[in-house]
Symmetry: C2
Subunit: 325 residues, 2 copies
């Protein structure tokens, strides 16, 4: 099994930081970001040394009504271009495509005609064959690809090992460990990551990690798995993301020692843009209701409803969660 | 060096949970808790299976004016008795005595006449000889004792090793690793803890851990060091404590597998008492200003002033911290 890579003082040049603020944070405000916000974040990410910026989903316009969601649920080429032009920068552009919720055969241009660099295919573990079909399609179009296997804390190890073996045979570039329920501890995240890394090292792929902060462990789990060789790290400004949110970019940039990463640029963005979102009433972040679902290894949907209703009766809510078993 | 003890499913009967809400949380409201609050927390802790409850400081009444602080800065015997009577329960009562800020030769009764079970002696690493004098005095009076070496992230390893060797020769029961600045990462906390454990195992003492949440790592660091054998674990309700606060008791009780620990009782207390404190404007918890001082391994005093002034100009504040170097 993999041992620790590098140390707490040095630079790991294999590390890639991905900003998922618009994509995962968009789940908090139905992708209702202004162009000014997205453009400022784009410029911030470039100045901060972020390696990839994920702009949102490529959701099916047959399944979802465009008028009911912000544009970053669909990430049309012209909307991306309006922000980034030809993206004359070192930073790469990513979008997410969900298995079963994306018209992938009609909604993607060949890479040569698109400003998108990377397509991240998100799936549950039983959808791996469908994910692989999409990965090969995107790879043939010329994109970098990832496979983000969600809700990994509910999969059993045999499933995980089989999924990894299947992905090892594909063109996918990065396999992501996704702690959708925020229920992993550093010890469990580390064990899973080392299983992923063993497969990835053997077939020349990279491993990524996407955390949720239900138990206040998003940053801790991220730096734990990175220490064993996970190299693609998702984070968001102020941890903005569904429910309890994600690993906070400011914590991650403050941890990484590579001088290419710059915390100060991000602080300017937080002060000028993120605080305003909070004032406008967009809600995310660690709270007891999310801790419960994390501890119980469950989808946060009931906790999100509890939050949306402004409830504070934690005891009743906790009891209701226990009854559902 | 110590390896991991136990596993994520089992019970470690050596674990002792200490609630420091009144003591460390008291630094947020100048110990201005009502008797009703303290009594409710006392009953909650008993029901939750907490092993020790720390009521506050035994601060010098020559140095500090009693009228300017809440009573839990002084923890007079009659005030403790008014809450706990003779403490007919399995839970033990702790107080903290700071080196240099405590009239220890006049303010402590013999254990046989006091409801206090444990005195925690807090010091900086250069004060170890003074701490040892106090520890032996309290031990001779009949108390359990701990030595809480604060700000350990600013001590060098040679100092730490010498301090541990000195403490190994004393009557102290528990040696605490205290991350006062919240600047330890799980990897660094683990390394320090294993150094402490090596000394403690050789002389039959226990190791404790007291975290601060500046980098959202209080819980993560606590479960990391406990996995290597640290057995005395400090936590507070909702993480209430100076600045960024401490390890949240609800996260810790949700993690520990020993059925003696009960999360639900604590939730009732949080809902009925802690939310009210927040509404009344008592402020603590993770925020960017504390992240900065944690990342920079500094005392949070400037961040506490920034918080008290209600400032949100994170960029200016961050620049001012960098200038101080």
């Amino acid at each position: 099994m993999a041992s620790r890579k590098g140390n707490l003082m040095g630079v790991r040049t294999d590390i890639k930081v991905l900003d998922a603020t618009i994509r995962d944070g968009g789940l908090c405000n139905n992708f209702g970001f202004t162009d000014d916000f997205v453009r400022a974040l784009y410029k911030t990410n470039i100045r901060s040394g972020v390696d990839y910026m994920e702009f949102g989903y490529k959701a099916s316009r047959n399944m979802f009504n465009e008028s009911e969601h912000g544009k970053w649920k669909f990430c049309k080429e012209e909307d991306l271009r309006a922000i980034v032009g030809d993206n004359v920068s070192d930073m790469k552009i990513a979008v997410m495509a969900d298995v079963g919720r994306c018209d992938f055969k009609t909604d993607f241009l060949p890479k040569s005609e698109s400003v998108i660099d990377m397509v991240r295919v998100a799936c549950y573990i039983h959808q791996i064959p469908a994910a692989i079909e999409m990965i090969e399609y995107f790879h043939d179009l010329g994109y970098e690809t990832t496979c983000n296997i969600m809700a990994i804390s509910q999969a059993n190890m045999k499933q995980v090992e089989e999924a990894l073996e299947m992905l090892a045979q594909t063109s996918v570039d990065v396999i992501y460990l996704v702690d959708s329920y925020g229920s992993l501890y550093p010890e469990t995240a580390q064990e899973l990551a080392r299983t992923y890394l063993e497969v990835a090292d053997a077939c020349g792929k990279q491993i990524g990690f996407h955390a949720h902060n239900n138990q206040n462990l998003a940053f801790a789990n991220t730096i734990e798995v990175l220490s064993y060789g996970v190299s693609y790290l998702d984070a968001t400004a102020m941890g903005m993301g569904r429910g309890a949110g994600n690993c906070a970019m400011e914590l991650l940039l403050g941890f990484l020692k590579n001088p290419k990463y710059n915390l100060y640029s991000l602080l300017t963005f937080i002060e000028n843009y993120m605080l305003l979102l909070k004032e406008e009433g967009v809600v995310w972040g660690y709270d007891l209701q999310y801790m419960f679902t994390g501890q119980l290894n469950r989808h946060p949907r009931e906790a999100m409803a509890f939050t949306a209703e402004g409830r504070k009766d934690y005891c009743e809510f906790y009891k209701s969660l226990l009854e559902c078993f």
